[in-house]
């Protein structure tokens, strides 16, 4: 699977992301993109964590700082 998760997990997160996007639920987007990155290979994880970071930034979510630091540590700042 592209995110390193099994099919059921991926489907569940994708459905959750679509719902959260539809409702503008930024905090859930941060959670789900972060979760999706957990087992993902580096390039996919960097993509997903970037998504989480940007939504956290726009929401003023304190997780933005950690996400930014994680991306920096990956050389993706």
């Amino acid at each position: 699977m592209p995110w390193g998760l099994n099919t059921a997990q991926t489907a569940e997160i994708e459905a959750g992301l679509l719902r959260a996007h539809a409702h503008g639920d930024t905090r859930t987007l941060v959670s789900l993109y972060t979760e999706a990155a957990t087992e993902a290979p580096p390039d996919a994880a960097a993509f997903l964590l970037t998504q989480a970071w940007v939504y956290a930034l726009s929401a003023g979510d304190p997780r933005a700082k950690t996400l930014s630091e994680t991306l920096a540590a990956m050389g993706r700042a």
Binding site: D43, A46, A56, S58, L71, A77
Partner: protein, 372 residues
């Protein structure tokens, strides 16, 4: 296009002067030229600080065709930015909102702090790569517009060429120095959408000549002879020596502190050129910000203020309704003058030397700004 001879005629002594010709009220290219010289090149009113009461509050406003947004930043300062992402020119703020964190472009999610700094360029170096060594983003913050707040009005100088606000408007600031006290917005803002060129609203506001005919209610207690004209650098208007407070039994609005006794019964109404119409009284004030919307359409946005945070609600309702009634009484006049500008034989009209001084002063200011 401007007729320089006609503009020179505007600047003649009032008894011989003509008003601005019809093109200045109807013609699209003249409107564009005026927008540059009179709106973008001066300190124009954009809105009021009370529109963004909390940090993160943002309101998009298109002014003279320029997309802007008014924002209270994280530190509480009011700022004005051009409403455009530095990446591909997307509009950033499309409706009034509260920005909780960063301003995120809805297109590719470039993010800006409320101070305008570019803080994120996601995937700009490819998926999951958030910088690109070939792209210098250090100077890609939001484009901030010069702004200055006076009497809660957010003035902007969009082209950046005007002298400092305090210098450009030193005379009117000094005139009303006594009223330099906190203003509390009453939350009862209202707007009027009017089929006229914005300058007609200024011209009508400047003078008291029309009061007995158009505002008989006002004139019943504040007669024409109680009024005096006001003319100064960058402003014109009128004052009255007979202002009567609204009361409800013993209830009345508290006064602004430290006013001279003359303000017990006086009030003044001043147009700060180009587009801000202000009124002040011992116990309340108002600001009208004109938003030109093409040569023959104007939005008037009206805000009323008191000396204390909680104005007596019943009285404030009455006061708001009273002023709304007065401003609505003016609509047929300014719309009628707009229609009159379609008469090809109208040459800009004449001014009463005794009564139209403030209107003539505004026309002269316009002509001067246009190079006459």
């Amino acid at each position: 296009m401007k007729d320089i001879d006609a503009l020179i005629a505007v600047r003649h002594p009032i008894g011989r002067a003509s008003g601005l010709p019809n093109a200045h009220y109807m013609d699209v290219s003249t409107f564009a030229e005026e927008s540059q010289a009179l709106l973008l090149g001066q300190w124009a009113g954009l809105g009021v600080a009370a529109q963004v009461p909390c940090p993160g509050d943002a309101v998009p406003i298109t002014f003279a065709g320029v997309p802007l947004f008014l924002l209270r930043d994280r530190d509480g300062d009011v700022r004005v930015f051009q409403n455009v992402c530095r990446h591909r020119g997307m509009i950033l703020v499309s409706e009034p909102t509260r920005i909780e964190g960063a301003i995120r472009c809805p297109y590719h999610s470039w993010c800006y702090s409320t101070q305008g700094r570019l803080v994120a360029t996601p995937h700009v170096g490819g998926p999951g790569r958030n910088s690109d060594p070939k792209l210098d983003t250090s100077d890609l913050g939001l484009i901030e517009v010069r702004s200055h707040i006076w009497r809660d009005v957010v003035f902007v100088n969009i082209d950046g060429t005007a002298p400092p606000f305090e210098r450009a408007n030193a005379e009117v600031i000094a005139r009303w120095a006594e009223f330099d006290a906190p203003l509390h917005h009453d939350g009862r803002a209202f707007s009027l959408d009017i089929a006229c060129n914005w300058k007609l609203a200024v011209e009508n506001y400047c003078e008291s000549y029309h009061l007995p005919w158009v505002h008989p209610g006002l004139n019943a207690y504040s007669r024409l002879e109680d009024h005096y004209p006001i003319e100064g650098r960058g402003h014109a208007g009128q004052g009255t020596e007979v202002y009567r407070q609204l009361t409800d039994g013993p209830k009345r609005f508290p006064d602004f502190p430290g006013l001279a006794p003359k303000w017990d019964t006086a009030a003044e109404y001043i147009a700060v050129f180009p587009n801000v119409l202000l009124g002040t009284h011992r116990d309340h004030a108002f600001a009208i910000v004109l938003h030109p919307d093409g040569p023959s359409r104007t939005q008037e946005h009206i805000h009323i203020y008191y000396a204390t945070e909680q104005a007596e609600p019943d009285l404030a309702d009455r006061n708001s309704a009273q002023w709304r009634g007065v401003f609505e009484e003016d609509v047929f006049v300014v719309e009628g003058m707009q229609k009159g500008r379609a008469a090809p034989g109208f040459d800009g009209g004449r001014f009463s030397p005794a009564m139209d001084g403030p209107t003539h002063a505004f026309h002269m200011w316009v002509a001067q700004c246009l190079g006459a």
